[in-house]
């Protein structure tokens, strides 16, 4: 891993399209500004990892099984809604 020291107000450029700036440092928390093209995923790491796990689990489900489950309960959820 490349490690750089930066002060408040300083930044880092990655490739042609990515800019990271240290906006503010308060105690143990750092505010970071990121400029990136709109087709880049930018998430807090811990949330990203969790969503990734859930997405992988949800993708391309065993369709007969899940279809029979959801068809059975469809009416119930509509009533609830």
């Amino acid at each position: 891993m490349l490690v750089l020291s930066r002060k408040q107000g300083e930044g880092i450029t990655i490739g042609d399209n990515l800019k990271v700036k240290i906006l503010d440092i308060k105690g143990r928390q750092v505010r970071i500004g990121i400029e990136a093209p709109p087709d880049y995923f930018i998430y807090r790491e811990e949330v990203y990892e969790k969503i990734l796990v859930e997405n992988r689990k949800a993708a391309s489900p065993d369709s007969e099984k899940i279809e029979s489950i959801v068809n059975n309960i469809s009416g119930l959820i509509q009533k609830k809604g």
């Binding site: 087709d39 279809e67 959820i77």
Partner: protein, 155 residues
């Protein structure tokens, strides 16, 4: 256009129906285009089928059916990437999954898919709201509790 899918075979879809996730869905950035299919008549669940990957699909549901007061806050950057003028142009859906050896059906209402139905642009976002779960329980799937849940939902 004609698309190839593992689930529905080869099917013709109107290109206007295609939803474009310019970043893909997290973990599946190879697939940018999807199309929605109804699962069964009047079912709240739908299939989200990838256009460019025949095998890739998700089951989704309107999160407000699970949590009537569900609301998402969308950042200015998200509005821009969805090409939306206001948040009112947007709708959200949650990805459904089966957990723990088929014991539970859940919906990810923490990381919803936000869709601009006008421009057909979409993206998955991560909400900060701790009240919204990655595994919002829809239903317990062992037989006894399905009955309980049915009773609870009907009541």
């Amino acid at each position: 256009m004609l698309i190839n899918t593992a689930k529905f075979g080869k099917i013709e879809i109107e290109t206007e129906r295609i939803l474009t996730f310019s970043e893909g869905i997290i973990g599946f950035d190879h697939a940018k285009r999807y199309v929605l299919f109804d699962m069964a008549k009047e079912s709240p669940f739908k299939w989200l089928q990838a256009v460019d990957d025949p095998v890739l699909c998700f089951i989704i549901i309107d999160p407000t059916l699970l949590k009537p007061d569900y609301s998402v806050s969308v950042s200015k950057e998200d509005l821009e990437s969805l090409q939306a003028d206001t948040a009112e142009d947007l709708g959200s859906v949650a990805i459904v999954s089966v957990q723990d050896d088929s014991k539970q059906l859940t919906a990810n209402i923490r990381g919803p898919l936000i869709i601009n139905f006008k421009t057909r642009r979409a993206k998955q976002i991560a909400l900060q709201d701790q009240d919204y779960s990655l595994r919002h329980k829809i239903l317990q799937l062992d037989d006894a509790s399905v009955e309980c849940e049915k009773a609870a939902l009907n009541g």
